[in-house]
Each structure stands twice: as structure tokens, then as C-alpha cells.
């Protein structure tokens, strides 16, 4: 069942009179950059999920808050859908445009407004890149902790919209744990502050609700993030295992020893070989699995913890444990992991990256299930895993030029996510639902839960104009999707009308 917007199941979209809208924007906002010709719109037809493309009605590139506010007011009055976009690096199609909607690009809001070392915060515009914040804070010995793999390019506004993660989440948290305050514009163009300069604010925790809401509840116009002192040292241990089960158990053993590593990553043999071939990180290519365990903090503690973790890994049956001898080797160990996706891209014409999370104890069973699905669908799957926090990134290898392979890749991807839900996990740990996992939402949530999500949306955007169709499926879509996925003779939505 296609994930592209389908009015039959996703609800009717307003018909927008493009020439009239364009004329009004030009009259009301003469200095707003508006793209409208097909060749100008083309570069914006997808985000990081490039398999799916839709040409937007118009693209606007504002530079001032007042322009965004006026634009939203005009769209609200005329009933025009608005899809917000930051750097366009999202992997779930959260910024996939609509044919009947404006694509609101916030990339030009790229100024760092304030770095306050004494207050340990940075106040920035939404188009500022994630890494740029840490770079600006570096002279003060501070940094912004969440580090999604795309941190060179992704923008903080998008990070807020997706509640972005990274490899250091177990210890340092997600985006939601590292925000103080966001300024937003509502669907009707009202300005509102969520959170505050203090550690909490009166009323409901709307900052938490907005973080990860995928541009459905409001448009982020300014972000104040917490800055942390840079850890004094970071050291990395690399452990090789002759089975993924042993590697999985070793992760639990490290936690049981009372140690929370800064990063704890696992790769399976296919991922190890692809990465080693590409980066020459020095990975043991015969290992069935490797663990990378980074310990960071104050020098004396890190030394001590390295010894403790080494003992735990050896006890857990590691065939080899290596401590990166110097900073260069540490960077090389990480380079292999951080480039695992492009490395896999070299051994396959295309790959599809999944983002399920599971309770860690379920890892052996889930990996076995993935291997079985891989055999059944005839597609290879490489496994890269934020082992510390249970976030799996299975990479499905396929060739889009072979008829049917993309569909098979999507199908196996869906099955993997359903497997994650079955063992108590989630269909998405950090990439977001967007359009990509819109069908699998029907697996994770029942119709009453989805109805409540729609109620939340209605509280902030009763006309449904902000990013329609993303994140939360309609009950009609779930009914149709459910009809294709009858489990044990029981429909997941037995009380729904069928269309």
C-alpha cells in the first residue's frame, strides 16, 4: 500500500488556486522569495527519503520571522496546506511536499543569536546546523550533545521536529532532553514560547509535546538549547565476538556492571566487512559482530571504567578486545561505524535504512527473525545497532533497477518494524514516522490511540493545514492497511467501517 498521499484514504486536500495564491503572496510579501516554475521546484521534491517524490505547489524561502507569520496567516485564511522543511536531511519523508501545499523552507534562518557560556545555553535560528552549534560553543569548552549522523548538514529546527537522536543518547539523551525553549508560530500565525530560560515552565509541558511532532503542531522559529561542558577524555574499546548473541549479552553485562557508556554500538558481519572495505578502520572482518564502547568523562574515571569494561567483555566471551591506542585510532574506529551507511551503499546499488527500537534482551530473536525475512525475500540485510539504547538500523540491500526489488525492500522493511512492535519496541527510534512509516503506525497503535493523536492535532491546528498526512495515519488508511494484514483471522480494527 503506497505511502504517497492518497486522498481516498488520507482525506481530501483543499484545491488551491495557484495563480491567485501566487498573486496574493507577491502583493502582500513583495520581498519574499517564492519559487513556482517546475525547474525551480524540482530540487525540493523530496527530502532524505529520496525514493518518494512530490512536486510542491510553491516553495517559499523566507528570511524574516514576519514573513513566516504573514505567510501562515494567508495560508490559514485561504486554507492552503504548509509543509515545513529545514535542511531536508530527514529519512522518513517528514518534509515530503504536497502537490496542493506550500513548502516552507527555513534554511535561511541560519544565525546563531547568542552563546551564553555562563548560562550554558545557545539561542539559535531553526536553520542553524546541528554541528555549527557545537563549533560555536567549542571556544568555551562547551558543546551541544545530540549528534545525529547527519549533524554536518541537518538543522536544529528539523532536530526539534523529529526529536533527533544520535550515538550518545543513552547517556546524554535525545533532543527533547537538551532543549530549554522554542519559539513557535501556530497554524494561524500566532507567536508562542514553549519552555523558558528556567529548567521548567508553568502549565502543561508543551515543549515535550512539540518535540518530535514533525511540524504538525506549529512551526519552530527559534531554539534555545542546553550546552554541556566537553568531557575531558573519551576512549573507545573495540570487542569482537563469534556470535551476535554473545555481543548482545555483553551489552547487558556492561550495564549490569553499573557503567553507562557515552556510546555503545554494534555491527554485524556484513556491516563490518562493508565498513572495513570502505574506511579501513582496522575492524576484524571475520567477527560475527563487533561492539564499539566509548567511555567519556573525567580522566581518572575513564581509565577505571575502561578496565572494568574490558574485564566484562572478556568474561562475555569476546574473541578480541582492543583499546584505541590514540585519538587517531579512536577516530578511525568511529569512522567505520559512522560511515556504515555509505559503506553499504558501495556494495549494493540501493539500500533502505530502517529505524526500529527493541528492548535489548530481544536482540537475538529479532536478528534471527530478520535473517529469516532476508532469506524469504531474497534480499541481504546488514545490521547496525545503537546497542546501548536498543535502536536498530537494519540496512536492506536492493537494486531499484531490478523490477520488484524496491517493493520487496519496502515489504521486508515493514515486516521488520512489525517484528519490533511485536517484541515491545517501536517502529521508529529517531528517524520519525513522516510518510515512510505511516502504515506501520497502524501496527503500533490501536484506533483509539490514533484518535487521541488526532485530537491533539485538532487542539493546535483545527483546520489540519500543517504537514497534513504525516506522522499520524487516518483510520481509513489503517482500515485498508489492516485488511491486508489479517493476523490470526482477526482484523486490528474490527470496529471500523471498511471502504
Amino acid at each position: 500500500m503506497s505511502i504517497l498521499y492518497d486522498e481516498r484514504v488520507d482525506g481530501p486536500l483543499p484545491r488551491v488556486d495557484k495563480p491567485a495564491l501566487l498573486a496574493e503572496l507577491r502583493a502582500q510579501l513583495p520581498d519574499l522569495d517564492v519559487l513556482h516554475s517546475p525547474e525551480d521546484l524540482k530540487p525540493y521534491e523530496c527530502d532524505g527519503l529520496s525514493a518518494y517524490r512530490t512536486t510542491p505547489l510553491l516553495v517559499v524561502l523566507p528570511e524574516r520571522l514576519e514573513q513566516v507569520q504573514s505567510l501562515l496567516q494567508i495560508c490559514h485564511r485561504r486554507g492552503v496546506p504548509v509543509v515545513a522543511r529545514g535542511a531536508g536531511t530527514g529519512l522518513s519523508g517528514g518534509a515530503l511536499p504536497l502537490e496542493q501545499g506550500i513548502l516552507l523552507v527555513l534554511a535561511r534562518f541560519n544565525k546563531i543569536l547568542e552563546i551564553d557560556p555562563a548560562g550554558r545555553f545557545a539561542r539559535v535560528q531553526p536553520g542553524v546546523r546541528n554541528l555549527a552549534i557545537s563549533q560555536a560553543a567549542a571556544p568555551y569548552g562547551l558543546y551541544y550533545a545530540p549528534d545525529p549522523s547527519s549533524q554536518i548538514a541537518c538543522s536544529i529546527g528539523g532536530n526539534v521536529a523529529e526529536n533527533a537522536g544520535g550515538v550518545h543518547c543513552l547517556k546524554y539523551g535525545l533532543t527533547v532532553h537538551n532543549l530549554l525553549k522554542v519559539e513557535i508560530l501556530t497554524a494561524s500565525g500566532e507567536r508562542m514560547t514553549l519552555g523558558s530560560d528556567a529548567l521548567d515552565s508553568p502549565g502543561f509541558d508543551l515543549l515535550a509535546l512539540f518535540t518530535g511532532s514533525e511540524g504538525m503542531l506549529g512551526i519552530v522559529t527559534e531554539v534555545t538549547v542546553k550546552l554541556l561542558p566537553k568531557p575531558q577524555v573519551a576512549k573507545v574499546l573495540l570487542a569482537a565476538f563469534d556470535s551476535v548473541e554473545k555481543a548482545g549479552r555483553a551489552v547487558g553485562d556492561i550495564i549490569a556492571a553499573g557503567i553507562i557508556p557515552g556510546g555503545l554500538e554494534m555491527m554485524d558481519n556484513l556491516a563490518i566487512r562493508a565498513a572495513e572495505d570502505f574506511i579501513h578502520a582496522g575492524y576484524p572482518v571475520d567477527a560475527e559482530a563487533i561492539l564499539l564502547c566509548e567511555l567519556d568523562g573525567v580522566e581518572a574515571d575513564v581509565q577505571d571504567e575502561c578496565e572494568r569494561v574490558r574485564a566484562v567483555l572478556e568474561q562475555a566471551g569476546a574473541t578480541e578486545v582492543r583499546l584505541a591506542r590514540d585519538e587517531a585510532e579512536r577516530v578511525r574506529f568511529w569512522a567505520g561505524r559512522k560511515n556504515a551507511f555509505p559503506a553499504v551503499g558501495r556494495i549494493s546499488p540501493d539500500y533502505y535504512c530502517m529505524d526500529g527500537t527493541i528492548p535489548r534482551r530481544e536482540l537475538p530473536g529479532v536478528l534471527k527473525g530478520i535473517a529469516e525475512l532476508s532469506a524469504e525475500y531474497g534480499l541481504r540485510v546488514a545490521n547496525v545497532f545503537h546497542a546501548g539504547d536498543g535502536n536498530m538500523h537494519p540496512l536492506i540491500l536492493f537494486d531499484a533497477n531490478q523490477p520488484g526489488e524496491l517493493e520487496r525492500a519496502e515489504a521486508i522493511g515493514g515486516k521488520i518494524l512489525e517484528l519490533c512492535v511485536k517484541v515491545g519496541g517501536s517502529i521508529t527510534g529517531e528517524h520519525g514516522v513522516g510518510r515512510e512509516k505511516i502504515n506501520q503506525m497502524c501496527t503500533q497503535f490501536n484506533s483509539d490511540e490514533i484518535t487521541l493523536f488526532h485530537a491533539v492535532k485538532a487542539a493546535f491546528d483545527p483546520k489540519g493545514l500543517l504537514n497534513p498526512g504525516k506522522n499520524i495515519p487516518t483510520l481509513h488508511r489503517c482500515a485498508e492497511f489492516g485488511a491486508m494484514h489479517v493476523h490470526h483471522g482477526q482484523l486490528p480494527f474490527p470496529d471500523l467501517e471498511r471502504f
Binding site: P359, N391, S426, N471
Partner: protein
């Protein structure tokens, strides 16, 4: 009392209340009933719904029914060498997990380890539509759908009855050491601001008007090195519990108690009455007879807000919301609790 799943009875009571449009006053151990506005309604008591649903220390997640005594939850974690990092205050022996979650109150470690909401991974909620639903889950990362679970932390029961919560827990630190440094409040704040920019293992910082109190937590090496560097005298760690439970002599002052939440580098505030600094400067306790307006004006001027902790002292114990924020609070309440039966008016008269 035994572990028992009383969610069916709770759901039944909510459905009856929905049928008869009867407001409910949700209550656990009543230890934090003094906070917020008075609710008139039929009591919904969560305490029969108790027990740990699942706990696997190596997963760093515990799932617990909200009627469970907070002390019982902490004892289970303690036995496994783990803890609730946000150090929730009990404020009474009867405190429940549900009260911790609904009030969202956090203790001295909060600036370094996060608040109650930062531990929340998932919840079960009885809604204004008479259904018990599940949001979030038992995994560290989960961005499917809106984050209703974290929204519920600190919502004072105004959005539904929370029946179950999954919390992220962490190992207890290997070392913990408390110190007393002879510094006046102004110098203490300046030092805290300086130290905050350095990788020091500080996990609590309070000034009681006499001296700066610090707690260091981490590995043996980092705690010893920081102890060496910061100096000071050893402090009985009981101080932190007495601070958290409002048992220090400061809290005996008969004047109304206010909690001021400020940016962490805010200067000393000049207000009538006595102050005690916690959270490294980001939380100040105030004993004062000054008017709510005077206190809130002074606090708002530095970007903070003030809550009154003395029951019945003022009609809006929580800082009033700006007009657009209040509008969306009402919208959210209307959408999630259309009949307005859950703790109406507990936070604000209009919500």
C-alpha cells in the same frame, strides 16, 4: 496491600463519571494535595492499583502501576543498585508514583540528571473518552506519534488518569561525597556559574543562607580529584534529603512558601523574606509575605516563574499563562477531556 491490577475498576469509575458528567478529584497518597488549586469532585483513589509490572535492571527500565508507593519503587531500584535520577521529593510517607508523575516535582539532582519528564518512556492513560490507552513504551528511543507520555508529567491529572508508567532508571553512582563551603550566596552563585562550564562531577548545589552545599557523584577518581580541588568541609548527606523533603529549619518559617524557577545564572533576587538556593541557582525557595504580584513581577523580569507552595494562599498558585498559551491549554483540555471531568481547575481555573 498486595500488588493488584485495579485498572478495570478505575476505568469503570471514569466511565460512570463520564455518564453522569461528575468531576473527579484524582488522588494517590494525598502528599502533594497542597499544591495547585482545590478541586471539587468525587475522589478517584489510585492506591489499589499498585505493584511493579516489569523490571529488568539491564534494560534500565521499570514499569510500575501509579498507585504504588514511591518508597516501594525506590526500594526495589535500590536493591538492584539503581535509582530514579531526578530524586523526586515524597513530601509525605504516603507519596505514590502517580503523584510523582502528575506533579512532575524533581529533587536536587535535577539540573544535572533531568526532571521526572525526562525519565518517562511510556504511560497508560484512562482518557476522557473512557478508554485505557498506551503511549510511548519501554524503549529508550521512540518517536512514533506525539509524545503524550512526557506531556502527562506535571499535568496534575488534568488530562486523564495515568495508570501505569515506564521509567528510565540508571545505576547509582559508585561514589557520593557531600561538602560544605564557606561562601556567601553571591560568591556561591558566581562559583557555580564558573564550575558549571567545567566537567566537574557536581550533582547537587544549594546555598542555605549560611554556606554553599555541594554533592559530588561519579567514579572514585573524579570525585577525589574534585574534592581536592574544591576544598571545603565534609557534609552529612542527610542535608539533601532534608532539603528535598522541606525539612530544613528554613522551611519552618511561618510565612508563605514560594518556589522560584529561574535561569541557572540568575543573580540574587531582592525580595522581602528569606531565600534558599537549590539546583545550582535555578531553583530558589522563598519564605515571604510579599504579594503574589510583587513576587511574580520580580521573577518574570529575569525570565523565571513562581509557584506558591502554601495551600490556599493565592487563587492562582501557578504563574498565570500568557493569553495564547492559555488558549491552547484550554483547547488541549477540551480535546482530551471534553467533559472536563479530570481534576478541573487544579492547575488553572480555566483548564
Amino acid at each position: 496491600m498486595h500488588d493488584f491490577d485495579a485498572s478495570a475498576a478505575l476505568l469503570e469509575q471514569v466511565n460512570q463519571a463520564l455518564n453522569s458528567s461528575t468531576p473527579l478529584r484524582i488522588q494517590g497518597g494525598n502528599s502533594k494535595a497542597f499544591l495547585g488549586r482545590k478541586v471539587v469532585g468525587e475522589v478517584l483513589d489510585t492506591r489499589a492499583h499498585r505493584g511493579i509490572v516489569s523490571y529488568d535492571p539491564t534494560e534500565l527500565v521499570i514499569t510500575v502501576r501509579t498507585g504504588t508507593p514511591l518508597a516501594e519503587l525506590q526500594a526495589v531500584l535500590d536493591a538492584a543498585g539503581q535509582m530514579l535520577t531526578c530524586e523526586p521529593p515524597h513530601l509525605g510517607a504516603t507519596a505514590t508514583v502517580g503523584g510523582m508523575l502528575a506533579t512532575g516535582l524533581s529533587g536536587p539532582r535535577r539540573p544535572w540528571a533531568g526532571a521526572v519528564r525526562d525519565m518517562v518512556l511510556g504511560t497508560r492513560l484512562i482518557t476522557g473518552f473512557g478508554k485505557q490507552l498506551r503511549f510511548g513504551g519501554e524503549v529508550m528511543k521512540n518517536v512514533a506519534g506525539y509524545d503524550l507520555s512526557r506531556l502527562l508529567a506535571g499535568s496534575f491529572g488534568c488530562l486523564g488518569v495515568i495508570t501505569e508508567v515506564s521509567l528510565k532508571v540508571l545505576p547509582k553512582p559508585r561514589q557520593s561525597l557531600s561538602l560544605r563551603l564557606q561562601l556567601d550566596a553571591e560568591h556561591a552563585l558566581a562559583k557555580l556559574s564558573e564550575w558549571g562550564q567545567q566537567p566537574l562531577p557536581i550533582s547537587a548545589a544549594s546555598h542555605d543562607g549560611q554556606a554553599l552545599h555541594l554533592r559530588l557523584e561519579g567514579g572514585e577518581g573524579s570525585v577525589a580529584a574534585a574534592r581536592e580541588r574544591l576544598g571545603g568541609e565534609p557534609l552529612d548527606p542527610l542535608y539533601w534529603q532534608q532539603l528535598n523533603e522541606q525539612e530544613l529549619p528554613f522551611f519552618r518559617d511561618p510565612r508563605p512558601l514560594w518556589r522560584l524557577s529561574l535561569a541557572n545564572n540568575s543573580p540574587l533576587l531582592t525580595l522581602p523574606g528569606e531565600q534558599l538556593i537549590d539546583w545550582g541557582g535555578a531553583q530558589r525557595w522563598l519564605k515571604s509575605s510579599a504579594s503574589a504580584e510583587a513576587i511574580r513581577t520580580a521573577v518574570a523580569a529575569v525570565g523565571g516563574h513562581a509557584s506558591c507552595y502554601t495551600a490556599g494562599h493565592c487563587d492562582s498558585p501557578f504563574q498565570p499563562l500568557a493569553a495564547p498559551l492559555l488558549h491552547y491549554h484550554r483547547q488541549l483540555k477540551a480535546q482530551l477531556d471534553p467533559q472536563g471531568i479530570f481534576n478541573p481547575g487544579r492547575m488553572y481555573a480555566e483548564v
